[in-house]
Amino acid sequence: MTTFYFGRLVEMFPFFLSGLWMTTKVAFISLIVCTLIGFVLGMLRANDTFFFKHLIGVYVALARGTPFVVQIFIVFFIFPEWGLQLEPFPAALLAMAIMGSAFICEIVAGGIASIPKGQWEAAASSGLTKVQQLRFVIIPQALKVILPPLVGQYVLLIKDTSVVSVIGVMDLTRVGWVTVMRIPEGLMVFALVGLLYFAISYPLILLSNYLERKMAR
């Protein structure tokens, strides 16, 4: 029986690869977008301005406090109420961007906060403006603190892309699910899906560990 299923699984392998490609696409694009937005928000949040701090705080709480599966439903099915009608793929990207940038914002703000106040003061003392202080002095140093958890967060985000399958994006997880419907050998199918996820995530975990060790020095 198992070999019978195995044959069919091999037959479907190209289908798995297309799922892998979709997962990679969603992950790659959304990671770039999340990083850009996350950095901007993080810098604003590290600022003392009451308005930004709290506004972004509320946003971060909403994005972190609810399950991603609920968020993606809201983006896909409730945003149309407000005139934002999106196809599954862009909707998945948008939901990922909203959720991911909240997490990255926290990491960036944390990294900036970890830089000794003296560095800000030294830069201020020589007359640099706030933006110059951030750009020349703070961010280059904060990157060291930010990078390892950032890469770690990338791994979490890549794994979160598995949830976009609920709005009909044919990603790796959905391919797995559809396949189980055809080949009722869940163990094998999900081992394969797991392996493919592992193939994307693990190199990043290694990178994160490496960065952590390197930055610690």
Binding site: A61, L62, R64, G65, T66, P67, F68, V69, V70, Q71, F73, I74, F77, I78, E81, V155, K159, D160, S162, V163, T173, G176, W177, V180, E185, G186, L187, V189, F190, A191, V193, G194, Y197, F198, S201, Y202, I205
Partner: protein, 222 residues
């Protein structure tokens, strides 16, 4: 969907949501305790310095961290029966969550232990304390203090992760929303209510995390 948001139906389904909330809470609690135990064991193995314990622990942690929880749940759900082990969905879900969170907790604990100042360990060495005594009196009390906030952070993640158990027919908060949707066709009401309850749990845990963080910093500075 929002224009005629129907609060009455939410009240009608409130008992269902509350029972969902209760099981989410209980599942989370049980899982947290089990995951802590798993994490402690994995962490001890990982820092033991004994290769035959260390490598399995590393493999376990890395595999858990690099595959989606959803896939792990399905894997166990379909996999355990093929091994002849039949456990109900809820236990399958708890086992999956426990293994997943346990790996993260192991890493949090390890970071906590590493965070204890090397100098303090040397101070302990200098006064003749042995390994177990140093662990017990110097390292663990401080490491635990440092790890409480990230552990609560992991608890937040875990509570949200229990939502995925709805996919294997565990009746919890998210499933309550799904049930209401399929009976009454009111997805907006259902999902916003679900989100609301998750936010409540989030704020409680977040408050605890911030409080413990402040407590901790307070102790260091003062």
């Amino acid at each position: 969907m929002l224009a005629n948001f129907n609060f009455m139906v939410i009240f009608e389904y409130l008992p269902l949501f509350l029972s969902g909330l209760k099981s989410t809470f209980l599942i989370s609690l049980v899982t947290l305790v089990l995951a802590l135990i798993t994490g402690i064991i994995a962490c001890s193995m990982r820092i033991s310095g004994i290769k035959t314990l260390q490598y399995p622990a590393i493999a376990y942690i890395e595999i858990m961290r690099s595959t989606p929880l959803l896939i792990q749940i399905y894997f166990l759900y379909f996999g355990l029966p093929s091994l002849g082990i039949v456990v109900p969905e809820i236990q399958t879900g708890i086992i999956a969550l426990m293994l997943n969170s346990g790996a993260y907790i192991a890493e949090i604990l390890r970071a906590g232990i590493k965070s204890v100042d090397q100098g303090q360990i040397e101070a302990g060495l200098s006064s003749g304390l042995n390994y177990v005594q140093r662990m017990r009196f110097i390292i663990l009390p401080q490491a635990l203090g440092v790890t409480v906030p990230p552990l609560l952070g992991q608890a937040i993640v875990m509570v949200k992760d229990t939502a995925l158990l709805s996919l294997i027919s565990v009746a919890e908060l998210t499933r309550s929303g799904q049930t209401m949707t399929s009976e009454r066709f009111m997805p907006a009401e259902a999902f916003l209510t679900v989100a609301f309850f998750y936010m409540c749990i989030y704020f409680c845990l977040k408050y605890l995390a911030d409080w413990s963080q402040r407590k901790l910093i307070f102790r260091e500075v003062y």
